[in-house]
Subunit: 244 residues, 2 copies
């Protein structure tokens, strides 16, 4: 991954937040940098739950990203954690934030959450996490993290859907809900000067080349090529903010 040459971008309308360093947020990758992936099943990828090094990153975008960065920069000895758990909503992340995030001391924290929150509204599954609750809890997670690690770089990943399966069957309510959560993630990205990874647009564009089901077999979970698109977009966006 070459240096991107992108200098500081001043985001107009960015709300002030005491703990965010002013100016450049392009960070230098030091040795033993910790990159942590948090989220639901899309991040989980059936990762191993023990120390068995065969399976710790799951099969998904987190595996692909860890492999690429680890292969390109072995001298950096980057440390990758996957703490995605299938079925999680933002309130589930909140419950395990101390052990599964703060205790791991992330330098880069990538979060992808929201699809189960949207489903809780669409299918009225308790506990229902409304859009408002989602924003409140999400922001609380970021605040807790910044309080302990003022220099953490957040990578906020947009939740996404495609018109397949149960998502298709409930398209109007699903798309209306997820769009609101996407707007929240965009808003928080600006507020916290985070890297924003806009997956929805990536998948929408991919659907010009192959049907939605090719990229996301049930409208929610990416296929193997779908995860590859995610890994590429994540790398592209993060590359503009980290100097490896």
């Amino acid at each position: 991954m070459a240096l991107s040459g992108v200098s500081t971008i001043c985001l107009s309308g960015m709300e002030s937040f005491a703990a965010i360093p002013k100016g450049s947020r392009k960070i230098k990758a030091g040795n033993n940098m910790v990159i942590l992936f948090q989220g639901d099943s899309i991040t989980d990828g059936n990762r191993g739950r023990n120390a068995d090094l065969n399976h710790i990153m799951g099969h998904g975008y987190a595996f692909s990203i860890a492999g690429r960065l680890g292969a390109d920069f072995p001298e950096k000895k980057m440390i990758f954690y996957n703490r995605g758990i299938s079925g999680n909503k933002v309130n589930d992340l909140a419950k395990r934030w101390q052990t599964d995030t703060l205790d791991l001391k992330p330098d880069v924290l990538s979060i992808l959450v929201g699809i189960n929150d949207a489903a809780s509204v669409v299918f009225q599954r308790e506990p229902v996490i409304s859009v408002e609750k989602y924003e409140e809890l999400y922001q609380s997670l970021l605040d807790q993290t910044l309080l302990k690690f003022p220099n953490v770089l957040f990578v906020l990943c947009e939740p996404f859907i495609l018109k397949v399966g149960k998502v298709k069957d409930n398209w109007d309510s699903f798309s209306a809900d997820i769009e609101k959560r996407q707007a929240i993630v965009r808003k928080l990205s600006l507020k916290y000067n985070a890297v924003y990874v806009g997956f929805q647009d990536v998948f929408n564009k991919a659907c010009e080349k192959a049907p939605a089901v090719y990229w996301m077999w049930d409208g929610v979970h990416p296929t193997v090529p779908g995860h590859e698109l995610m890994a590429r977009e994540w790398m592209k966006q993060v590359d503009s903010r980290i100097r490896f």
Copy 2:
């Protein structure tokens, strides 16, 4: 993946084999091309055993390759199968060759097997698969496949080790044995005009950048960055033989 521009390579000393087409073996990737990965735990990658599309490729080089090709060439609708099974030796592959290979009608068949065969000799685990038996059975698998699919492209992957863990503890016997199996895979690659993927050299060179344990945590199983190196080498070698 760009066209490589590599034209037919005439391998001197290649033994004749009736079913192998003479001349160019650079094949054109048609629609619905079937790419099958066969092997042991390194290929398996804890892949799902059912039709659940979340986990079918496991976490390893097969996942990374399928993702890249699938993302780059969606219009080709390539079909990827992973049939690696943890602990398998070449005799285990033989037992399930019909259902797990021939029945899947591969256009490209990638095989990585040999480390458990070597371990059976080093640790005298029954059934011990000697080097001679390995060659005989391996060749028989290729012959069976060619008989049914004369145009199949074999991708023969070199088994490998690094000096870590139990491999290190038994280095002399392990390295002496695996070198013989590597020579067999090279020989069969020439004989069957296969793509040869020389992983050992890739890992040896990687060890100039980071310790062996960084790439292969127990001397046998690649780490996440190790799998990435495998995927890259596989793609590089196959790219010279398939026109996508």
